[in-house]
C-alpha cells in the first residue's frame, strides 16, 4: 500500500485527481482519501509537525498499515537559492526546535535533486541553504515507528526563495506546482514499489510452512525452527520446491534433519 500525506488541500488536490482517490466518509478527524483498489491512500494533515504526526497516527489507526508499505510526504518548501518549481527528495531532516536529525535512506536512482531540510514551527522568510517546511519532522518521526526506514520519504517542491517570498504563495500557485510535478511523484513511487515488494516477500511466511505443520506433529519450538529453515531455504534455493525434498519423510524430527542436512551440504558463497 502507498500512504501519501499533504499538509494542505491545494497540495493534495492534483494528487487526488491523478490517482482518482475518493474521500472515506466514516473518518472525520482528518480528511482521508483512498483509491478504488485501496492500494493508494492520502491524508490531509493540516499545517505543522504536530498535525503531521497526529495525522500519521490517525491514518495508521483507521487503515491497516504494514511494515512493507510506502509512506510519502508531499508538499512545498522554501530555500534560499533553489529555483521555484524544482523537486527535491529529502536526504536529511532536522527538527529546528529540538535539533534532532533523521536521514531518509535513498536506495534508488531518481531524476531530481537530493537535499537537506529543516522543519520549523512557523513560516520563515530567513532563507538558508537548506530547504525548510513545517511538517516533515513530525511526519517522518511518526512514520518511522510504523513503517520501514527505506520506504519512508519526503518529496518537496520549492515554492518560495529569496526572490519570491513566502508571503506571495497562493493556493492556485501551489496547485500548479504540484500538477506540474506529479509525474515526479509517480516516478518516485515506482522506484519504491520494487523495494516494498521485496520487503513484503521477506516478511511473508513461506507457503509450504502451513502445509508442513498440518502434515507433521511439531512442538512450538520446532515450528519456529522450521520457519527459520524455510526462510534459509528460500534465500539459498529460490527456484527449488522444498516439497520435493521432503516428500517421503515420516516425522517432524526427520523433516528438520533432512532440510538442515541439505542446507549444510550445499556450497554457499556470499558473492555473486
Amino acid at each position: 500500500m502507498i500512504h501519501l500525506f499533504c499538509a494542505l488541500s491545494c497540495e493534495a488536490e492534483p494528487i487526488i485527481q491523478h490517482f482518482n482517490l475518493f474521500k472515506i466518509k466514516e473518518f472525520d478527524l482528518f480528511r482521508l482519501y483512498q483509491s478504488g483498489d485501496k492500494n493508494i491512500t492520502l491524508t490531509i494533515t493540516g499545517v505543522g509537525k504536530i498535525n503531521a504526526a497526529a495525522a500519521v497516527t490517525f491514518h495508521h489507526a483507521c487503515l491497516s498499515t504494514s511494515p512493507s508499505d510506502i509512506w510519502l510526504n508531499v508538499g512545498i518548501a522554501g530555500h534560499s537559492s533553489i529555483p521555484i518549481g524544482e523537486v527535491c527528495l529529502i536526504n536529511k531532516i532536522t527538527d529546528y526546535q529540538y535539533g534532532t536529525t533523521w536521514y531518509p535512506q535513498i536506495l534508488f536512482e531518481i531524476d531530481c535533486t537530493s537535499a537537506a531540510l529543516i522543519t520549523h514551527d512557523a513560516p520563515s522568510s530567513q532563507y538558508q541553504n537548506s530547504l525548510f517546511d513545517m511538517e516533515a519532522s513530525g511526519f517522518y518521526q511518526m512514520a518511522l515507528r510504523l513503517g520501514t526506514a527505506e520506504l519512508i520519504h519526503c518529496l518537496k517542491i520549492v515554492s518560495d526563495n529569496q526572490q519570491h517570498s513566502v508571503e506571495n504563495i497562493k493556493a492556485d500557485h501551489v496547485k500548479k506546482l504540484i500538477t506540474k510535478n506529479k509525474l515526479k511523484i509517480v516516478q518516485l513511487l515506482n522506484s519504491l514499489k520494487p523495494l516494498a515488494k521485496e520487503l513484503s516477500r521477506i516478511n511473508t511466511i513461506p507457503e509450504c510452512y502451513q502445509t508442513l505443520i498440518d502434515e507433521y506433529h511439531l512442538t512450538q519450538s520446532e515450528r519456529i525452527q522450521l520457519l527459520r529453515l524455510l526462510n534459509q531455504w528460500s534465500v539459498r534455493f529460490p527456484n527449488d520446491d522444498i516439497m520435493c525434498l521432503v516428500s517421503n519423510i515420516k516425522n517432524g524430527k526427520s523433516l528438520q534433519k533432512k532440510i538442515k542436512t541439505k542446507l549444510i551440504e550445499s556450497d554457499f558463497s556470499i558473492y555473486d
Binding site: K92, Y103, A149
Partner: protein, 91 residues
Amino acid sequence: MINTIYIEEEIAQHPRTLDIIKRFPDASRIACRRYGEVFNRKSQNFRLQKKNPALILAKKHKNLVLPTPKQYSLGAEYNYYFSHMLANHFV
C-alpha cells in the same frame, strides 16, 4: 557503486576524507554529527540496505585497540586486538 556518502562534520576537512570523497565525484555527500545517527538505526532493513550500501566516513574516538582476554594472549606482557566489524572506512 557508492551513491551516498555520510561524513561526520568533525572530519569533513580531514585529508583522508578529502582523498576518499575524490574517488566518488558523483556521490551525494551528507553531513552528520555522529555516524550513529545514520548507521543501524531502528526501523532500517538490513536486506534492503544491502541493495545499495552507502559509505560512512567517521572518526573512531577511543578503543582503537582493546586489551586481549588473558586466555587469548600471545604470551607477551601486554596484548591487544582490534575488530574490523565497524572500522572498514573509519578515518
